[in-house]
Amino acid sequence: MDDDRYGLSFLRSSLKIAGYEVVTAIDVESAREVLQRDRCSSFEAVLTDYRMPGESGLELMDWIRRKDETLSMVMITAESEKELIKNSYAGGAVGYLEKPVSHSQLCEVMATAVEKTRRNRRYAKTEAELAAVGRLDHFLNTQIDPVIRSHVSVFYRPLHEVGGDFLNVREIAGRVSLVVGDVSGHNVTAGYVSSYFQGMLRRALEDAVPLNQCLENFNRILCEEWGPEANRRRELLTTLAISALEIDQEKGVMTCAVAGAPPPLMVDHNGWIVAESKTNFPLGWNAEQGIIPVSVPSASIRFVLVFTDGVIDWANELEIDPLCLVYTLLRVQGSIANTLMQPLDDLLLVRFSPNPDIVVTDHFHPVIHETYGGDEADDIDQLEAVWRRSLLFALDEELGDRLFDLLICMREAVLNALVHGCDRMAGRSATLLVAYNQSTHTIRVRVDDPGKGHRFDLKRRLEEMPSSTGRQLGLGMIQHLSDQLELENRGASIVFDFKVVPDEPC
């Protein structure tokens, strides 16, 4: 575009000689008309003079940029004004020419502009296609059979548009299968692998193939077919971490199969974790690897928690227990993930209730589950710091002024277990479990150690204890500070409850 008819004629001829198809305009208004009539996408570059009667070349560039970001523009100016050139680039120009313009300069700048437009359009197309793949990938990665949707709560936050962790929950002929997977890598390739696996899994389950066999089959495919191909192309091996669960409602049995992923946690009415499978290598590492399923009766299980390692990594980053992160993410859903620091990996966690009528908030939900070696007694301050952060993270507003009562009791119980139950030995371990019941505002703590407990009735002795000093002082404190204390296994297991009064909302 140029208002100088001689100049315009030179530019047109020059570009035609260079092989371009050229459309000209003598002012901004007629240029707009041409671009609207023939559509911006039919042009590959715009060459415009800066100084025009009425609106300037910059105003045309601004208009074009809003219509089509991919179209490259070149500004012609008579003056060597740095400010003007700066404004041209800010306005979206990919190059500029100073008058008088030579044929060779013109051809060089326009060739660059056309190439840039073509590249921009290729990127835009690829981006649009990837976005569509991403939407499909997200859909495929969160497959929940509508029949059992009411059993399932999910928190899913993939790190990238494509190739994230995936979830597949189906009911086929009375068998519910819940599979949580994590393919190595966060890219389109990972998306292909998870889709392939899920398709294969679906067909196998429809053919009543046991879940562990499905995993073993895919392990063989990865190791024997895909692995050699990746080696040949000098690419990284594809591996798949899986945490899977199968529920046979008729037989009342739950079966877990795990490969390289955190195992599913089965939770009873007290919030205790009653069964936890052992994990194997991820699929794709070892062709000989068998997946040994672990079955437990499902009657006492209120819900199962399944999550990928991104949840554990993020909890480690926050220096809190992973279960308090699980509890919080499932409870508040998206809001917390948006306000806290960015996770390092995909986050996927699932809570599955075998009985859809169960109201999860009516039951205890685990928020801390840790196992400590007896030799960790000297690290009690660090352990306590993690409990403190975890409890504040998950239950801050629920705790009222009971946080420090709770911490004192947990400290006393765990120290007692590590020092007396485990004799401070590294090979012996104690377990701490903390669960919260949102409906009754009760925190329940359980500490188990491998000791023999006491020969005498410890609880009775505590009740009769005349002095507050000396032996069992810690237990006496727990009894005094907590709202209920129970001792099991002759004192080797201690369970105590705290009723908390939540803070009034501000």
């Binding site: 002024d401 420090f404 911490l407 400290r411 006393e412 120290l415 507050s468 002082l473 404190m477």
Partner: protein
């Protein structure tokens, strides 16, 4: 961990604990206190103030030391005042009946 101040004009000895008092630091606090008692004449003070206002948490080992301290001071005809600000520490003291053995001054501070 522990600051010891002698207020000679008031004949007070102040033991100011800077943090929680528990199994992992009570030995150090005890040793420092005993060293001071050995090095300083007990005639310089009549009352010992144990300032636990910075402690949100006192555990059973710490409680045992507080008992020992009270007993030791009583045997030297010294009185003791314990200053606390944490509801959790107050509940531990109630359980241990510390108020029957020493004067406990409780002023609640916001727990952070």
């Amino acid at each position: 961990m522990l600051t010891i101040e002698l207020q000679a004009d008031k004949r007070r000895l102040r033991l100011i604990v800077e943090s929680d008092l528990k199994s992992t630091n009570v030995d150090e606090v005890r040793a420092e206190t005993e060293r001071y008692f050995e090095e300083t004449s007990r005639d310089a003070y009549k009352t010992v103030y144990l300032d636990l206002r910075n402690s949100k948490l006192v555990d059973s080992m710490a409680l045992n030391w507080i008992f020992m301290l009270i007993r030791d001071l009583k045997s030297h005809q010294k009185s003791m005042v314990i200053q606390i600000s944490s509801p959790a520490v107050r509940r531990v003291f109630e359980f241990a009946n510390i108020e029957g053995l020493a004067e406990v001054k409780y002023r609640k501070r916001r727990q952070v």
